[in-house]
Amino acid sequence: MTDQTLAAPATATPPAAFGARKGMSRETALPWITTPLLLLVLLATWHFYVRGTGISSFILPAPSAVWDSWMDMLSSSRAWGHTWTTVYVTLMGFAWALVIGVGLGVLLGRTRWLELTLNPFIVATQVIPKVALLPLFVVWFGFGSTSKVIVAAVLAFFPILTNTVLGVKSVDAGHRDVMTSLNASRWQIFRRLELPSSLPYILTGMEIGIVLAIIGAIVGEYLGGNAGLGFMLVSKMNGYETDGLFAVIIQMTLLGFFFYFATGALRRFTIPWHQSVEIK
């Protein structure tokens, strides 16, 4: 037997089609076609329904009226001011939830007795309808942004906390052995092992948390506010401007999309090593 039979000749090249980037595969391209199409169908149905039935624009305005109203909103500095207020409340609430949720989550994930001690209270904060606490926060902190920041934080806090606890508990025992055999300090174990290992879980908590923070901010604003998209929604309702109501909802939805995808991008950026960001 000669060596040549064992290995392909060194000059061999893969077939021409191998590894060529085809841009997008059929599957990933699908939503780029179906999403606009479905939206178009929806808008057309809406348009012809309004035209055909002659329904009052107070009950259901035509899509074109909603569009005009939204365009007005985009050119109004007052509406942008309200949008920024909501962005600010959402981000502040989310930031507090993140700091406290991750901090407490790491502590509870590490310390069994602390978790057992605090668990009933944490479950209690979860089952209380938190929106019902808003009047209390208004009494304590006034009608300014603080009370809404707290509502947003309280809503976003729980999923971040539980996911962090799960993440810290899921740290691989073999990885812990490595750190122990290297005589790592408690801080080093946290910084070099527990935190990076929990990051995929924390990011999952953040993805859920950011959406809840927006809900908290908006509900807070329309129950006890004088600024923000939630407040705007209530004033449109009081002014019987149904098309404006729709415009505010569009604005809120886009805000939600933005925050959600921003956290998703954070995942690709912070944990490129994790299987959850592998290209499908």
């Binding site: 990885h175 122990t180 290297l182 070099r192 944990i271």
Partner: protein, 266 residues
């Protein structure tokens, strides 16, 4: 010049024992055991499952505290009043059955992790990591993620990580147990080469008779319930050993002896 019998052993076990479980249901994992591992030796702990070989190795590595007895590394106690002695621990490098590389670190950062924990600067760390990738035969893969490497290559990286801070002793817990037979043979050859180049003291746990016979200077055969040393077998075959050594009568005699004894005790 010092002769071997007066120099202190790299690892000294004196009446070391280990109990697990509760007072109501105690499990005697390792009966009081004496064992000296001279510096530079490649010692293999061999035995059926439940014989306490991994327990013994984890005690040597400071991952488990002995229930009784004295354990010294380079003549210094590893435990003092229930606390691991950090300085003694830095004479030891551990390799596990799973490579246990951190998936969020590249190969070079994984290898340099122990140095980072010890506060060594980045440039020096990276230089050392690159030197080690050459030693273990994975140069060119420094910037890759662990998931991009094969099982054998990951285990090579794990060995490099254990060698990064130049410990005198390498403790290996079934390091090639999860690899396929061909890769395993290759890794045994590589380990022999690395050992001959670095002159470390190595204690390796395995349940493979051929791996034990191929690698060892001395094989400690352990028997179960409770774990204790059954026999110690010298393997006087010349080095470097090639894989062909497995077909020699000498090798087969030792392997046969071990197999018969293992069948009797398990």
């Amino acid at each position: 010049m010092q002769t071997e019998h007066v120099s202190a052993p790299a690892i000294g076990l004196s009446k070391i024992e280990k109990w697990f479980g509760t007072r109501a249901q105690p499990v005697h994992a390792l009966a009081p055991t004496d064992l000296d591992v001279p510096a530079g030796e490649l010692l293999v702990l061999l035995g059926p499952s439940g014989c306490g070989k991994t327990t013994m190795l984890r005690m040597m590595g400071g991952l488990l505290e002995p229930t009784g007895g004295d354990l010294t590394i380079e003549n210094r106690p590893l435990w003092k009043d229930g606390a691991r002695q950090g300085e003694t621990l830095s004479e030891l490098g551990m390799v596990f059955q799973d490579a246990n590389l951190f998936p969020w670190l590249t190969i070079e950062d994984n290898i340099a992790l122990p140095l980072e924990l010890k506060g060594v600067g980045k440039a020096e760390r990276m230089a050392r990591a690159h030197e080690l990738t050459r030693l273990v035969g994975i140069s060119g893969f420094e910037k890759r993620w662990p998931k991009e490497l094969s099982g054998g290559m990951r285990q090579r990286a794990a060995i490099a990580r254990a060698l990064s801070y130049d410990p005198k002793i390498l403790l290996m817990d079934e390091p090639f147990g999860a690899l396929d037979a061909m890769t395993r043979d290759q890794m045994n050859l590589e380990l022999q080469r690395i050992w001959m180049e670095t002159r470390k003291t190595i204690v390796l746990v395995t349940h493979s008779i051929s791996e034990a016979t191929f690698l060892a200077d001395r094989i400690v055969l352990l028997s179960p319930r409770p774990g204790r040393i059954d026999t110690i077998v010298n393997v006087p075959m010349a080095r470097p050993r090639s894989l062909d050594v497995q077909t020699t009568p000498e090798f087969q005699d030792i392997a046969r002896t071990l197999r018969h004894r293992l069948n009797e005790i398990s």
